[in-house]
Subunit: 297 residues, 2 copies
């Protein structure tokens, strides 16, 4: 039996059964990554849905119960909810358990959890860069992670052999895995994910607030570009609130760069500087080509 | 023979055979909208491609030759190129010809063409709101316009029966057709299309300029939102240069609203005002729902 066929873990406990949590559970079943997958969800509605969908072996109404006997615990909740849950469960974590998470912010999460994670537990912070605009246990699918990148940001509480196990876990779910420092991760994600979401939310908000144009016309003529932004801007509000609150520094740094560049483009439009506009709009094509090249590898 | 089966026009001349021009030509053939479709393209390469692709009856290296005997002439070039082409062809337009265009800006285009359009010609400005990030005659497809909106902005040089004919033309290509004033169109498009493109170009530019993060990492971890922006920001640079130069006033007005809203969101992040962020991010979901509702009708 080779490594790809062997179960990596006995029991995996998923804390929070939304888009990501339920996709992980489905993936564990599809690729036989663990013997058992259990979960915790705050609301009865989510717990019922998760059980009905049939990819969890057991769903608990208490996080402490869910993690009993788990070899791998994955926090799949908005990053702002991590600390409270960890305070609740930390006493019940078995020795040798591996703890990981899926948050889009790493430095602040580590800072908040560090003193609560028992010394007998190995914490390997992770961020699978995958998602859709949909939320809830019914939105997940096993292939969500396929050929996407997962970033691990190991630190002093991550045991070497456990980093390797978490890496294998995400690879078995179809991901490519990288390692970097939490701070660098947060800077990269600020520009590649957090600012794009912020400006998508912002333009949709601006359009909603207009008094010169009716809401109906904004939705009717959305095909010219706006529609794509509304998709991004319909992502989970609480998850995104927590990301901005917890990656404040990097987000503000990148936002200021974005605003400076926007002022320059505004100036070029004001001065009717066609050459400058064309130069800017040509340069940005190159990065698209590189992304498509990378994907076709 | 009912109206849907009868050819609407004898000959249609398409000036500029890019994504839109070639999609129109394909649609005319697919839906039997005219007896003949001819075209003009500036470069030999485009002319050869268009002929090889097989949906044009004839392709000319002179716009004046292309429009000879045309009953409908459609300008499918960047809006900044319209005036020069019209100066070149206006003497050769036959009496009764209908002139239309596909530009994403209307007031300025009308202003620029008004004195050149002969009194014997009916000018019905139009804007089919449809497109992709791809350019060139090979990128077009007949179904591009399917179930999208086309806005007509008739003015004093648009004869009543010709407005009706142009409306029918776009309907036969699969579009829903609306009428509004050129100025109102430009305001609606500024927020639903021009500003979204501007900020997409801008964020991709910002990411390209960063020195803290390598270009490679920006492309590698693009799946978190950035990727969608690079698609929009790979649209044709000359077309978009011309749009911003020619819809300057409405674009600056909407851009300033966008920037004001972004300052408020920045402030909320800086103050760690989670309630305000959540409220903003929840509000924007509603407009997405309305767009999807409208599409499913």
């Amino acid at each position: 039996m080779n490594n790809a066929e062997k179960n990596l873990f006995g029991t995996v406990a998923i804390i929070g059964i939304g888009l990501i949590g339920s996709s992980i559970a489905r993936g564990i079943k599809k690729y036989n990554i663990a013997n058992k997958v259990v979960g915790y969800a705050k609301t009865l509605k989510t717990r019922k849905k998760a059980m009905d969908l049939g990819y969890m072996d057991q769903v608990f109404d208490s996080a402490s119960d869910a993690i009993q006997n788990a070899n791998l615990v994955i926090l799949c909740i908005p990053v702002g909810a991590n600390r409270d849950i960890m305070i609740e469960i930390s006493d019940n974590l078995s020795e040798g358990t591996i703890l990981t998470d899926v948050g889009s912010v790493k430095a602040e999460v580590i800072k908040q959890l560090h003193d609560i994670v028992p010394d007998t537990v190995s914490f390997v912070p992770a961020h699978p860069i995958a998602g859709t605009e949909f939320s809830g246990p019914e939105s997940g699918f096993a292939e969500l992670f396929d050929n996407k990148w997962c970033v691990l940001t190991p630190y002093e509480k991550s045991r070497k052999q456990d980093i390797e196990k978490v890496k294998n876990f995400w690879e078995r779910l179809g991901m490519n895995v990288d390692e970097m420092s939490p701070e660098y991760h947060d800077l990269v994600l600020a520009i590649t994910s957090h600012i794009p979401h912020l400006i998508a939310y912002n333009i949709v908000g601006t359009a909603t607030n207009l008094t010169e144009i009716t809401r109906k016309e904004v939705t009717k003529y959305a095909a010219g570009g706006f529609r794509d932004f509304t998709r991004i801007a319909s992502s989970d509000p609480i998850m995104w609130r927590d990301i901005f609150l917890n990656n404040q520094e990097a987000v503000l740094e990148m936002l200021d760069k974005f605003s400076d560049d926007l002022s320059s483009l505004r100036e070029a439009i004001k001065k009717k500087d066609g050459q400058e506009l064309q130069k800017y709009f040509t340069k940005t094509r190159d990065i698209r080509r590189k992304i498509l090249q990378q994907e076709s590898k």
